[in-house]
Symmetry: C2
Subunit: 201 residues, 2 copies
């Protein structure tokens, strides 16, 4: 046999990305074989190479696309002026985005070490761009005297870790709705930065 009826390059390429994402998230990059991906896509292993140069590129593209989409999504938000409100907006944004794309998030944190050096540098740069978001918000709030932080850099990393951690225990059918979880985290984070309400409420 050869080219199959109804086969379509663009669709297959998309399916490959979807399957690779799912399997990488579930078992880890190194533990997933090209044959396994091909099987789930419904194609022979060799056919994968019509759509991507190699396994490493598959991972790199998934990570790069995710990080870029994440940055773009934040860029599309219109930001309040008040740092405290920005912080709340960020907390909700991060949780929403991460719970909506748990697999992408997961591999972005787990599979960095499986990237070859050049690919790693590219992704790492995007990641630092994202980390700059809460960092800048905290710095602004601290400068304005609204926050009470011993170290804005550490606080930013701590908040990010704490927010991203949601994905490790959140269950769709769990005790708490996503909305409720957001609320809880907003309170936690706001308390942790020691928010002082700046008059006028």
């Amino acid at each position: 046999m050869a080219r199959t009826q109804g086969s379509n390059g663009q669709e297959t390429a998309k399916r490959i990305d979807e399957v690779a994402l799912k399997l990488f998230a579930k078992k880890g990059y190194a533990a997933v074989s090209m044959r396994e991906i091909a099987l789930e896509v419904g194609v022979q292993a060799g056919a994968l190479y019509n759509h991507c140069p190699n396994k490493q590129a598959l991972l790199t593209n998934l990570l790069a696309d995710h990080m870029q989409a994440l940055l773009d999504a934040w860029g599309d938000m219109e930001l309040p002026k008040d740092p405290a409100q920005q912080l709340e907006a960020f907390v909700r944004f991060h949780i929403q985005y991460h719970l909506k794309r748990p697999d992408q998030v997961f591999i972005s944190y787990m599979e960095l070490r499986n990237l070859e050096l050049d690919n790693f540098k590219k992704i790492e740069a995007l990641r630092r761009q994202y980390e700059a978001i809460p960092k800048n918000i905290l710095a602004a709030g601290q400068m304005a005297g609204q926050f009470n932080l011993a170290d804005t850099h550490v606080a930013a990393m701590a908040i990010l870790a704490q927010l991203t951690g949601v994905t490790t225990w959140y269950r769709e059918q769990g005790r708490l709705s996503q909305q409720k979880i957001e609320d809880i985290y907003v309170q936690l984070v706001c308390q942790s930065v020691g928010i002082t309400l700046s008059g006028g409420h």
Copy 2:
């Protein structure tokens, strides 16, 4: 050739564990071969099987030993009565322990998915035991009216994630001493739980 001069079973077994830990942490379980471990130990691959039944057991033992040692270490601490002081003690304990054993901690969070079901259950049970520590502290503080938390379970998970996150950015030669980092986190965490000082200070 065969048995080498000066060879010693106990020492080799220890070396194997050390090397496996180091390599698993650096490259991930699935990406490390038995031959790679053997090479670093200074032995042929087959010799590994004089000291462990298989690769999976190597990982399982590393994780189980670490989790048990972690629980034991906390068990050895003498605890203050006040929940707020307990919380501070836990924050410092967790950071100290995790920064002292970054590889063990790392694989405990990264390699769970590479465990076969039975092994996974065993490790997961130990992990939940550890998670119960901050959970109970927060519940006690909340009950005593000292903390201000919307949800003690979520708060416990958030605090754990945030503390463990230290290992991702901490550098021995970095800007901040370990002591200073502890202080920063103590402040962050105490603020996040909304500590109310319970009279008498």
